[in-house]
Symmetry: C3
Subunit: 369 residues, 3 copies
């Protein structure tokens, strides 16, 4: 992987491990923010990658040794009414959701397609715009034969601007639809909506709070690329203090056996104690390091988050230093240039993985297992 | 009903009379503006409720004695090309529309659903945003198997900002769709659109003008909750001078027998003479009162509209006085606390009633009776 | 045609030549900008019309002598992956696309309709709002049984505002859909998107660049109205220096035999030399004229573009003079008053032609010939 190849990323980059390429491949890289080509700033933004020999083997194994999942009976009711936060799922449920997601990969855009959710209406109630997340959910619903009621910017365009409460809106919208996908700017909004609604609510991001389908998609992608979730070594690099993605990932991966975390970050944005204590309480190993190169050489997966200038306040020189130090660039990833000749392949996999996870969530919430 | 339970309202609150609860129930309450929980201001905004013994009986009867309607032959052409204002419908047509609306209640979101409007495209052309109304129409269309072309904010996003006339836009959009639902900021816009278009136009609100599907939905809800429209006593409370809702309601209910209106409002926003004269000319009784408690005790239905501060100009003290005087609160509605243990039930009924009315309008405009 | 009848125009006005009216008709008029009723300013904006005796005959012939097209085999792959600019099509391909467009005219909104594109998802990715173009594409997709993911304003509402590149967005969106319709504010954006995407991209306007479906629709409309494209005389009037429409039209019509152009414009916005040289190199005759009346009397088709005040800078008096001089009004078009008793008919034809062309493009890109 070159720096250039990373530029294609958006929200997740997998540098490797198309199963067919697995014998040549050795890295898995997830980015949780888009990188853009033109500015050197964004080159430092984020990245997840794996560079150990071990990951190479695991990638090769991915198509063969998918964890056998304890099945829920087909048609059995899904055990949750809503999807509000990643933590609500235990390991067994995650595995079952991933199994449903994998089955969604076979649904193609042929003349028949799936009509599994025909007659169902999903309302995408977005109080802040997020085209990517919205289109992913809407595509998921339509690929399953369902239909969609859309609000692109409920905050500006709706009664919200006239002082209507979220609860008021939810009660109205649930009269028109069968499931609500809510994006909101306030932490806790999804929980309030779910408490109000008599139909399922999926949290598609509530401010600094949760974005569970994104967290599930990160874990699902790691499993698809690495072939397992137990026993993996994960480097978390960059701004670890802020942002829901890194925290959700830590919570979710803590449900698996023998996961080890490496935290690499500037002092001002170090991983917070609550997560460290949570991991320790669950028997999950973690260590902090300032040596990105060494960490990268040990990990199966490196997950990098963007370091935001505004977190450094007046210490702009610390920011400049931090940026330079925690860039996942072609030196860190030097082995990968030959790995993924078409870096866009990773994008297709990532966007599709998000689609499959969302198809799976819609399916189990509306139809059960 | 407590003040708290009223807070759940949006645009219409029915405090009572789920048919299954009718023997215990005695009140019917419609709000034509959302109330929000947090501010005392909004508690005074609006409410429609019924508190007489009579309404109790009528509610109980609602599921049994629906007025038998003079039917139009199935398949017969609908007698209007467009739906522009509530007054265009006579009593017979209203009854027939309500009958179609009731039949829509059986259309469920099952795997088949209705395909009645399959192949039809509805364009929702909204020059001012109104998520609630838009989603209601779009849900209605999709529940009948039709599909939708959406503009969430045609004023900002379209050629309108380049000086294109409404007529130009209508002529273009009618080439793409089979029916147009228009929301506009100018009174009379819907009539102009209908004069231009060769396909049906539904007025979804044109500024201070009409919003006929809302007016139909109010009357339909009263009939569903109270069981009849003849012989009812209706209190109109709050700002009666402004706002299309109260005026439309007066016009529509005047088509029924032995309806009596009570107007309760501050002097500055009293019911205007044109409506009073219209009612008198139709032989409809009305009286003005300043005693909300007394009126509430006499009425089957109380419909409250929000008193807007800006109407009082510099006489802010009059506003404060008016607000306090015309609040429909738990004292006025003291009997209702036990009536509706789940105040949200009313919301489901209200939103669904709006949906059924809009499904009915789409059906008769596109397919006939 | 009266000035008043022109007011109904939007983007294209055909003043004549409903085949049933052809024996009485003699003019064909296309406007590439909407005219609005209320301001005298807009009366001068644009117009395409034909007034020669010849066109009368040609119009009459239109239903009979459509050019026989060299067919591509049904099911054969379309020779382009994307539709980026009008020039990419040779005459043979244009004829074949027009033939498909004509076949689309039979697809009606009946209970079955076409399900040709059932299961296909089109993403309309609009970085600048254009309700008209968007609804036309979305209607085309839905009339063929496909479905749509919509962004009304991707620039404001998406990650674009967070600095995500177009390429990033394309790679994500192609994971969710089967074809992308892109509207962008930068010239060349569509080409960049097509280079990135593994699914077809249609350029729905990229700033000052191309808008090929509009250009195809103009030519298709001329053929439908006049009955042929070879041997026609075309007046281009107004601002010929700016605007993609006039330039595209010149490029496309140059593919036909014995086409002659007349350019009528103020000096400051004369047709640029590159187009003149291109036409000359292709053996296409052209001449400049300042006499609109004389040109109108010679042409089969007059295409007028709006003269924009801002092009004249401080020479506002030149602007006023130019406006007055190049208005296509009832004096210029005096013969037409009786031609088209229902001027709206032309709108239906124009909007529908746009629809058919877009249906045809979606069909050939997704299913082949």
């Amino acid at each position: 992987m070159t720096a250039a190849s990373m530029l294609f990323s958006c929200s997740m980059y997998v540098g490797v491990s198309n199963p067919k390429m697995a014998s040549k491949a050795s890295a898995c890289c997830l980015l949780n923010r888009p990188l853009s080509c033109s500015s050197s700033k964004s080159i430092s933004s984020c990245g997840m990658f794996g560079v150990s020999e071990k990951s190479k083997l695991l990638c090769r194994a991915s198509a063969l040794h998918v964890e056998s999942v304890p099945s829920f009976s087909v048609g059995q009711k899904f055990q949750f009414d809503d999807v509000i936060e990643a933590q609500q799922f235990d390991r067994e449920t995650l595995s079952a959701i991933f199994e449903v997601a994998r089955s969604m990969e076979n649904i193609r855009n042929n003349s028949s397609g799936s009509q599994m959710l025909k007659g169902y209406l999903m309302a995408t109630l977005f109080y802040e715009p997020s085209t990517r997340t919205r289109l992913s959910f809407e595509s998921a619903m339509k690929r399953l034969g369902g239909d969609v009621l859309t609000t692109e910017n409920a905050r500006e365009f709706s009664s919200a601007s006239k002082g209507e409460t979220l609860e008021d809106t939810i009660r109205t919208v649930e009269g028109y639809s069968d499931i609500i996908v809510l994006r909101h700017f306030e932490s806790g909004a999804a929980r309030r909506a779910a408490a109000t609604a008599n139909i399922p609510v999926i949290n598609a991001g509530d401010g600094p709070g949760q974005h569970p389908s994104q967290a599930l998609l990160d874990v699902y992608t790691i499993e698809r690329e690495i072939g397992k979730l137990d026993g993996i070594k994960v480097g978390l690099v960059g701004d670890l203090a802020n942002g829901r993605t890194v925290r959700s990932l830590a919570y979710l991966l803590a449900k698996y056996r023998d996961v080890k975390f490496y935290f690499v970050s500037p002092n001002v944005v170090k991983m917070k104690d609550d997560i460290k204590e949570y991991l320790t309480s669950k028997g999950v190993e973690w260590e902090e390091s300032s040596d990105l190169l060494e960490v990268a050489s040990k990990c199966d997966v490196v997950y990098q988050t963007r370091i935001q200038k505004e977190r450094f306040g007046e210490n702009i020189n610390l920011y400049e230093e931090a940026r330079g130090k925690y860039i996942v660039n072609k030196d860190v990833l030097k082995i990968e240039v030959e790995v993924d000749s078409d870096p866009r392949a990773a994008y297709f996999r990532q966007a599709k993985n998000g689609l499959y996870i969302r198809m799976a969530l819609l399916k189990v919430l509306l139809l059960g297992w």
